[in-house]
Amino acid sequence: MRLLPSRHRSRGFLAGLALPLVAVFAVTGCTAAPSSSAGTSGAASTADAGTHLVEHARGETEVPNDVQRVVVLEPVQLDTTVALGVIPVGAAVLNEAAGVPAYLGDAAAGIATVGTVPEPSIEKIAALKPDLILGTESRHSALYDQLSSIAPTVFMATQTDPWTDNVALVARALGDEAGADQLLAAYDDRCAEIADSYDTAGMTAQFVRPRDGILTLYGPTSFAGSTLECAGLTIPERDWEESISVDISPERVLEAQADLVLVSATDVTDDTLVPDSIRTNAASFPGLTVVDQSFWITGVGPLGGMTVLDDIEKILAGSK
């Protein structure tokens, strides 16, 4: 009955896994068609046998150069891999019943779920025979050794870090830093485009998430807030207490005023989801719009960012 920790076993196992992989890649490398058309990755699909070293929150890991079967355990990783054209074979999702978020599009619809983000299933991951696993130290810390025994595992530190940093880490792991740069540049370009065509300079916007009466205002360091500011809008000044968001009591609802007020909801067509405090003061909130929570809050990543920017454009166009 062997109960030894698998760390030293995993290195031998890793070598055993890497060798046939490398052989397979070497043979198919020249004949492989370039990866799919999200336009960015797979450029180096030559006979680039070998691995590259990736530094991450759990140290350093040798990752194969041409990763085909990725399993991702965090939404930002899912978004980034899909955006880079490497559709994962498995992903941990927030809502097992709902599966992969809809905003990721048809390409992502077929991804197998390997459990929830907080509690992924090791066996489901192993059954998919991945060649790279991406996870988060602050959530999956206990599982690192087990995951490493399946495939090279790269961990990002926490999900609250700036999402652009995590995009860069995912791209490094996939060996496609150029792809990440392209994605982020496209995002910035789109921001500038919106800022120019709708002349957003000087316009204020506030993203609000209602939670049982309390209103959570999202600040410039949050995903939604940073996207709004990228598009040239300004989030009203306040003391953000070094956090991505600040809660306010409904008595202070007027502090959420801005030219554009975006209230998040799970169902954008349901008006009752707008909190009472805002509805009662509708006169103070002329520029009120209900937006979809699934990408404004949880859609962290390049594709989510673009979807939010599309939404912003729609709102700005509608309000003109």
Partner: protein, 368 residues
């Protein structure tokens, strides 16, 4: 029988005959195991129940090794166990499934024994280590480690241990007033527990949704993060603590008869109680540090055992076996029967509670 065992039996029978209210049952067979000074008395019926549950546990372990999302045929599992099959299959069976199954058995035993000790010492069938704030304190410690300190696994374990033990110590200090009286202890426990629960609620409210989900899953008690690396040290601790049980049981059994009888037979009541409770607290802390506060095993397993063995007190060894089977069975259900991912603690609560309810209905029908 040793001298000690004879004395115990004589005292017990005399006390019962003196009319403490329990029917004199000269038909109870007992088995005494142990050497002079360290004895464990096991009734025959409880030995049988224990053996039955032990066999069930073995069956559950076999199931746990065979079932799973990683496709393995029973032949492959046998091959791994006999050492013929290697590679990923071997890793899956021996390093993922086996540690989890063994941890479930050991943790279940630890919780059940701790619950049994508590219920015996406080003479209250509803007593559970939860009342002394261990569950809530551990959760608080874990939340602090997760939300303020980054949340890597060793930090979470340490936070949970420290939080639980600090809560227990705080309750002890506040309840101690020239002696430790059970009632004051319970009330202070409820008070501190409630305050810690509020702190936890507040922290969960302020956390991001996925973080709160992760924390709540831990807070319900989950074996999902139990790996060989975490299970082995915790399992060893549990085994060591359980090995100390024979030192504590004689004192507990005398406490069961009431404080007066206990002091008359030379048991230092305060010390016996303290030793027993300390052992129970340690058992629960170790389990909670790794798997979170798994509810109801500590509460239900001793009661289930007591009813099955029809004994007046709580036979601790049998309770341990029952607890192990209960937790492992619940984990199997949580993993393989329920389609979505639920923590094992949810299953233990629902199963344990349902069984208690069924017992209550059954008992009343028998009496009516």
């Amino acid at each position: 029988m040793t001298d000690r065992a004879v004395t115990d039996r004589a005292v017990t029978d005399r006390a019962v005959a003196a009319g403490t209210g329990r029917p004199l049952d000269v038909g109870r067979r007992r088995v005494v195991v142990g050497i002079r000074g360290l004895t464990v008395v096991i009734g025959l019926r409880s030995a049988l129940v224990g053996a039955a549950f032990f066999v069930a546990t073995l069956g559950f372990v076999l199931l746990a090794l065979t079932l799973g999302d990683f496709p393995l045929t029973p032949a492959e599992v046998v091959g791994v166990v006999t050492g013929q099959v290697h590679g990923l299959s071997s890793t899956v069976v021996l390093e993922w499934r086996l540690p989890r199954a063994l941890a479930a058995v050991l943790f279940g035993a630890a919780l059940a024994v701790a619950g049994g000790i508590f219920q015996t010492v406080t003479r209250n069938p509803l007593a559970s280590p939860d009342i002394i704030g261990l569950a809530n304190g551990s959760f608080t410690g874990m939340l602090v480690a997760l939300l303020a300190l980054g949340g890597s696994w060793p930090l979470l374990t340490a936070g949970s241990l420290i939080g639980g033990l600090l809560a227990a110590v705080l309750i002890y200090l506040l309840a101690y007033r020239g002696g430790l009286h059970g009632f004051r202890f319970i009330v202070v426990g409820i008070g501190i527990s409630a305050m810690l629960a509020s702190v936890n609620t507040w922290m969960l409210l302020r956390a991001e949704l996925e973080t709160a989900l992760f924390a709540s899953a831990w807070g319900a008690g989950t074996l999902n993060s139990v790996t060989a690396a975490t299970a082995v040290p915790a399992g060893l601790c549990v085994v060591l603590l359980l090995a100390l049980l024979p030192l504590v049981t004689p004192g507990i059994r005398q406490l069961d008869l009431g404080d007066d009888v206990a002091s008359a037979t030379g048991v230092a009541v305060g010390r016996a109680r303290l030793a027993a409770i300390t052992l129970a607290v340690c058992l629960v802390s170790v389990v909670t540090a790794v798997a979170g506060p798994i509810a109801f095993v500590a509460l239900a397993a001793p009661q289930i055992t007591r009813r099955l063995t029809r004994s007046p007190g709580i036979p601790l060894v049998t309770t341990g076996v029952v607890g192990g089977a209960l937790l492992l069975g619940s984990d199997l259900i949580a993993q393989h029967v329920i389609p979505l991912t639920v923590p094992v603690g949810v299953v233990t609560v629902v199963l344990g509670g349902s069984y208690l309810v069924w017992l209550l209905i059954h008992e009343s029908r028998r009496r009516a």
